[in-house]
């Protein structure tokens, strides 16, 4: 219970992290890169895999992040960095929460429901956040097959409708389109930062760094495949297809007879997404708990963080377009900085002696 296994980390990168990128990111990529949507995504994925590799190497010391930071910057410096990361995680959680709320309201309800229908998420999230980060391993074990089943099910229903030639000719969007799409999609890539919180909670074994990076790339390959199918189905209309994963399967021929059987798979993926959306909030709690040297109890941190996230969500719920604009065009740099670069730089930290 106190330790994660390598397998659980691989499961996270292979089956859980990709799920968070299936809601609004595909349409957003199309808005910048059109049929070249795979390339900016690939860039982020390669950068993320590189950062994952670096974080895993830094995790060889088998010390949790607060201790790694304390050894390099002293206790006060470490606390400051942890609070900074806590703020980043809270900030990073807002968009996944918003997109999940919009998804839920649009996919699971015939008429737009009250925001109350989404509020139970924060009850679940508060419970989830109050648990130690290392306990997530068991949840990853359970979620991985559910996620794989949901994804494969959707793909089986969607692939027959896809025309992959729509992706050609490659490079039509040009450098500007590529850059625009890369900037706009940056906010979906902060998994290496989450991985930082797992440091010291698993036994590092030889080869784990490249294996984790490889599993991260495999998960990314699944997302790329999804993007290709998505564009193959909707082509030029893809730009308007928000909540991509809920739409790719609805053209399956048997649905008229059997009903929306794809909802079975959608439910499975939404279940996994609920955990994925709560993870940054849990990471925020872990940072606050570590930054205060354990003086802020986890349940208190969980309540505070979820209350803050709820407040942010309520504040921005009628300003979704402005929030999107603000995040994607003004503050997009925060995500590569905190989500990829800084985690990768932990490799350079002075490592405390490994405890055996």
């Amino acid at each position: 219970m106190k330790e994660l296994s390598a397998r659980q980390l691989y499961f996270y990168f292979l089956c859980i992290a990709p799920v968070g990128k299936l809601i609004l990111m595909p349409a957003q990529l199309v808005s910048g890169a059109k049929n070249d949507l795979l390339f900016p995504a690939l860039l982020h994925m390669l950068l993320s895999a590189g950062a994952v590799f670096c974080v895993m190497l830094a995790a060889r010391a088998e010390k949790p992040l607060p201790e790694l930071l304390s050894a390099a910057f002293g206790r006060i410096g470490a606390a400051a960095i942890l609070f900074l990361f806590a703020a980043f995680f809270l900030f990073a959680a807002v968009f996944p929460l918003t997109e999940q709320m919009l998804l839920v309201q649009s996919v699971y309800y015939d008429t737009l429901p009250s925001i109350l229908s989404f509020l139970p998420f924060f009850l679940f999230s508060a419970y989830f956040c109050a648990r130690p980060f290392a306990e997530n391993g068991r949840i990853f074990d359970l979620l991985a097959p559910l996620s794989a089943l949901g994804f494969l099910g959707l793909m089986v229903l969607a692939v027959p409708s896809a025309d992959f030639s729509a992706l050609l000719p490659a490079g039509a969007a040009g450098g500007n389109g590529f850059l625009l799409a890369a900037c706009e999609s940056a906010l979906w890539f902060f998994d290496p930062a989450l991985l930082l919180l797992f440091a010291g909670r698993f036994r590092y074994r030889s080869g784990m760094a490249w294996k984790t990076a490889a599993f991260s790339l495999l998960g990314s390959a699944a997302v790329l495949f999804f993007l290709a199918v998505f564009y193959g189905i909707f082509s030029d209309l893809a730009l308007r297809q928000t909540f991509a994963f809920a739409k790719v399967s609805k053209y399956f021929s048997a649905i008229t007879v059997l009903g929306r059987i794809d909802y079975l798979f959608l439910c499975l993926l939404t279940l996994v997404m609920a955990f994925y959306a709560a993870l940054p909030l849990q990471a925020c709690c872990a940072c606050l708990h570590g930054g205060t040297n354990g003086k802020l109890p986890r349940p208190a941190a969980a309540c505070a963080v979820n209350a803050a996230a709820l407040a942010l969500l309520l504040l921005t719920r009628f300003r979704y377009a402005a929030l999107q604009e603000w995040l994607m065009h003004k503050l997009f740099w925060i995500f590569p900085l905190f989500g990829v670069l800084l985690p990768a730089l932990t490799l350079l930290l002075r490592r405390p002696r490994r405890a055996r």
Partner: protein
Amino acid sequence: MNKITGTLRRDEAELKRLLPAEDVLTFPFRGQDGREFLLVFADPVTDKELLGEQVIRPLGDYGGGMSAKEVAECLTSPEIKQLSRVSDLAAEILAGNPVLLWEGADAGLACGTKKVFARAVAEPPTDVTVKGPREGFVEDVKINCALVRKRLKTCELRLHTVQIGRRSKTAVTVCYLDGISDMAVVKQVKRILRRIDIDVLPDSSYLIHFLSPKPHSLVKRVGTTEKPDIFCAKIAEGRVGILADGSPIALTVPYLLAEDFQSAEDYFVPAARATFTRLLRLFALLTAIYLPAFYIAAQLYKLQLFPVKLLLTIMGSIQGIPLSPSLEMLLVLLVLEVLNEASIRMPKYVGMALSVVGALVLGETAVRAGFVSTPAIIIIAFSGIGLYAVPNLIEATSVVRLLMLLVAGSTGPYGIILFTAFLLCFLCRCESFGTSVLAPFSPLIARDLKDSLVKYELSALGMRPRALNSKNKRRMAP
């Protein structure tokens, strides 16, 4: 004062003072040379025929030494205990073991001639199998131990008995295989049992409360069975078993949730059939929990979940129903639960009448009167049957179904998903004696999956489950 004095009258008086009940009798008699003996026994629980044969008759001809050891050697009872404290002797009398005293005795002798009140070993009503052994545990712990010993003829089988209950003095036996069970679990079980301070222990289910770290939790942490073959198989896997006198239900720890999806019969039929049945049980359970909830959520929030033709049929049925879908479903569920409870408690001969009243009068008339719709009745009926596909989990699953129904009615499909997420999160935390109840799925133990929801051929099950942390890993030669 508590030690016996050797003066027969004084010791008799002391025992009488401790045991003033009218069913505690004394029987004075003399030996061959006129020496006086006294038997003190609790009349209803003593086998007097055996007492006469094994104690009184040998002493009638006895003329040897009068030390406790010498007298004990003359008796033909195989269970003789030498005790010198009057309170210990009183406890033995109450347990059904008569106490023998004599003038000048340095200790009393408790003779094991207890009368055993036990029904015959029969097939347990809650655990019926078509193929396989039909013996079930009974209410006597000694017979139960014998049933276990009959199946595990090994010196590694350890039986450790403790007395629990200040007044009931119930014998509770811990069974495990030395060298196979995790000794940490054995020690923990023994420690918990030693610490129990309760007045009366009427049944082994009381022990579950003490063995569970969170007794109020919906998820059980202790496995139960009424069949000695299952009990022995579990012990042989590395679990620790607990038998309580007066209860036919044996307990096993650590408990895994997957256990309740298995049945004894799975091991007597081809592996493919066993796998199919286990998956069927899982399907039935999931459908029983989720079907009513999704039906309500679809009706209230997302009609698109129904195929068009089904939607038209449902719309036709629910037209004119005065209750909201959630209320309607809750009402039908409540009726089902009441019928269920009543049919279990009701005398058998009224059972048929109850079925008629339940099925025809309540069900059909309610539909005809337009109080409830036919789909609601069908769904709840299927749900009711589905839950009993995994009967050992019924206490938890019926509550989960009700909660799921409430959540679906108030927050719709997303509420169901979130509640499921919460349940998964909660289940991941639940442990039974250091083992996750969700093992071998979480944490994933690939080797143990061979006998979880799927069942491999016996030849593939050469190793004991890793989740149980058994010292001896291999149970079958490769």
